[in-house]
């Protein structure tokens, strides 16, 4: 051993001292006369081996035996002692025992060091464990997500953080008295229950479609993810509840917007298709108008001539009759009944010719008025003239069946394309005529109301059912059956009236009849 072994001899007699010195000449030896002073030296010097006389051994050894770190004690001059390292009759054979005791002491010291070191390490570990746990608690508590520590087996909530309190609206003290399934409700499949059972095996939980019902009311959508950890000796599931209310709202908004967009695209497409159909039909109407105007123009001169000639013929017949009755006529011709009959027949049919050609002229004039190719621009026009022309043209739809009541008011001329308005009038009049089965009446009223002129066309027809009433201006809607109606008439009428900055209203009662009211502004504001 590098240092001198420290021996403490406790002996009332001085003779033992010399004997020990001889047995261990290199050791540092101290002697105490009684147990009292021995205790003091023991505390001061920490001896490696104790050498005790029997009285000291009897007095001190039981006490020392309680300290496992106490040095080995050799009793000199006595019989066996229960707590002694060795018992020798005297100091004569001390040397080998002392050597053994010192080796024992060395081992004991080493053991002590190791124990102390391990204790030191252990206490350090305890400290850092405590710190880690504190950090973990702080982390969980300050987390922005709601976190529950839940007993894996019983699902009892053991811990809950601030966010969890906030979401559930319950203080931690109340949360920890509940089961997780009391706080989080499951929506849809698989249920939280099913997922939990799987998580008990796999150690990780993922559960979407859950919701927390806060104590204060409302509903918060959450997604729960959990992982198994060990906490305070329990197997627990650390459940993190991610508030997905905002995300779901955004998703729903996005979905809604996408649907809205899709709907708008569809609607726009439908509108385009409609206006395309309307445009095509308008083109057709314009082409037909041009054709009609052309034909009317070409018919003008021949029909004018026929009318003139019918008149001339009538005049000539009057003259002929005068001549036949006159002096210059031979007797055989004068008052000849056969001749007079022929003259009368020609007179009669000439009158009919005049009536017929007058009517043709009226129709041709109406056709020309109706088409009005000469009026490409907007100009002030007499709506009554347009209505009358149109009435002449739809005469065949009405005659002998429908009486027309004209209630024309005092209205000013309005700016318009009269040919287009005539198309609208024609459409309404024909519709009215079709609506009337058998006998009926058609009333055309015009009147002024403020800055607007109103034209009402009412019939005593079948009327329109409420469900059809909302669709009559839709492109392609017809109740006349395929091949009869195009379903474009009212759609085009509405477009024309809208182009004239006016609007069409309709009132109808099934069984009573329908009245269309067209409103047109007296003047077009420059701003519009």
């Amino acid at each position: 051993m590098p240092e001198a072994a420290k021996l403490l001899l406790v002996s009332s007699g001085a003779s033992a001292l010399e004997a020990v010195r001889q047995a261990a000449p290199q050791a540092s030896l101290r002697r105490a006369a009684d147990t009292e002073s021995a205790r003091r030296l023991y505390a001061e010097d920490a001896p490696d081996v104790l050498l005790l006389d029997p009285p000291a051994a009897a007095q001190w050894l039981p006490e020392l035996a309680e300290d496992s770190d106490a040095p080995p004690a050799i009793v000199l001059g006595a019989g066996p002692s229960p707590h002694a390292f060795a018992c020798l009759p005297d100091a004569a054979g001390l040397a080998p025992w002392l050597d053994a005791a010192l080796r024992f002491r060395a081992l004991q010291s080493e053991n002590m060091l190791i124990r102390r070191e391990s204790e030191r390490i252990h206490s350090g570990l305890l400290t850092s464990y405590g710190e880690a746990e504190e950090k973990y608690r702080a982390l969980i508590n300050d987390a922005s997500e709601a976190i529950f520590l839940v007993d894996l087996a019983s699902r009892a909530i053991l811990e809950a953080n601030r966010k969890a309190e906030e979401l559930s609206g319950l203080p931690k003290a109340q949360l920890t008295r509940r089961s997780l399934t009391d706080v989080i409700e499951s929506e849809g499949e698989p249920s939280l229950d099913q997922n939990w059972k799987r998580a008990q095996e796999t150690g990780s939980l993922l559960h979407a479609n859950a919701a927390i019902r806060p104590a204060g009311g409302g509903r918060i959508s959450v997604e729960v993810s959990g992982s198994r950890i060990s906490y305070a000796g329990h197997d627990v599931m650390q459940c993190i509840c991610h508030d997905v209310t905002d995300r779901q709202r955004l998703e729903a908004q996005l979905r809604h917007q996408a649907e809205e967009l899709e709907r708008q695209v569809e609607e726009r497409t439908r509108d385009l298709q409609r206006s395309n159909q309307t445009l095509v039909q308008q083109e057709k109407m314009a082409a037909l108008g041009a054709l009609v105007a052309g034909i009317a123009h070409d018919m003008h001169t021949p029909i004018g001539t026929i009318t003139s000639n019918s008149d001339i013929l009538a005049r000539a017949l009057v003259r002929l009759k005068d001549l036949i009755g006159g002096e210059c006529c031979p007797e055989s011709f004068r008052n000849n009944p056969d001749l007079m009959r022929v003259v009368n027949v020609v007179t009669d049919i000439s009158k009919v010719n005049q009536l017929a050609s007058d009517r043709i002229i009226a129709i041709v004039r109406s056709l020309r008025n109706f088409a009005r190719l000469d009026e490409a621009d907007v100009r002030s026009a007499d709506l009554h003239e347009g209505l009358d022309s149109t009435l002449t043209l739809v005469h065949h739809e009405l005659k002998n069946r429908i009486t027309v009541k004209k209630e024309y008011g005092d209205i000013p001329h309005v700016p318009c394309h009269l040919n287009q308005l005539n198309q609208v009038f024609m459409n309404m009049l024909v519709n009215a005529a079709h609506a009337i089965q058998g006998q009926g009446a058609l009333t055309i009223r015009t009147f002024r109301e403020g800055d607007a002129v109103k034209i009402q066309i009412g019939d005593t027809g079948a009327g329109i059912t409420p469900e059809n009433l909302s669709r009559i201006f839709d492109t392609g809607f017809t109740t006349k059956g395929a091949g009869v109606g195009t379903g474009l008439g009212l759609a085009i009428s509405q477009k024309i009236i809208q182009d004239h900055k006016g609007h069409i209203e309709v009132e109808s009662e099934v069984g009573k009849g329908t009245t269309f009211t067209i409103t047109l502004p007296v003047e077009w504001k420059t701003s519009s």
């Binding site: 003008h300 001169t301 004018g304 001539t305 003139s308 000639n309 001339i312 005049r315 020309r368």
Partner: protein
């Protein structure tokens, strides 16, 4: 029936439609004793106006060679006192109204015409024509009288000088 005119009035009708010419001529021949000349185009019409005195011209508006207004303008240059009437379709009404001022139209008649209207317009036109003629004759007479008075006055002055 000369309608009381001092001589048989001469009427020229110009239209590219033969049927219009025949109809109007037939009517006027039946109802009046006017001399009616018809031409189926403005060029032929102008030839006629160059050759003889025409009291009244009825012309169609829309014709292939030139329109009725240009034709009547030339008639006015050739015979300023001829009464000019335009026969026009509905579509040309506005042009016709403008022409009344520009060309000094007496009247325009819309196709298809009423024979009674036509007869009245022609008769009134001729009356104006003959009134002007008489007025001019009177003016000439007065002028002649004034001239002879002037001569006499001159002679008297000479005699006393």
């Amino acid at each position: 029936m000369s309608g009381g005119f001092e001589r048989t009035p001469v009427i020229l009708v110009v239209d590219d439609e033969e049927m219009v010419l025949i109809s109007i001529k037939a009517f006027l021949m039946l109802e009046t004793d006017y001399e009616v000349i018809t031409c189926n185009g403005p060029a032929a019409g102008l030839e006629m106006v160059k050759q003889q005195t025409v009291d009244l011209v009825i012309s169609d508006y829309l014709m292939p060679e030139m329109d009725g207004i240009s034709f009547l303008m030339q008639v006015k240059t050739l015979q300023p006192h001829t009464i000019r009437i335009l026969l026009t379709g509905y579509a040309d009404k506005e042009n016709a109204i403008k022409a009344i001022n520009e060309v000094g139209l007496y009247q325009y008649i819309e196709k298809p015409w009423q024979n009674a209207d036509l007869a009245l317009v022609i008769h009134n036109g001729l009356e104006k024509r003959f009134l002007i003629e008489r007025l001019q004759a009177k003016i000439r007479e007065v002028q002649a009288a004034q001239d002879s008075l002037q001569d006499i006055q001159d002679q008297i002055i000479k005699a006393f000088m």
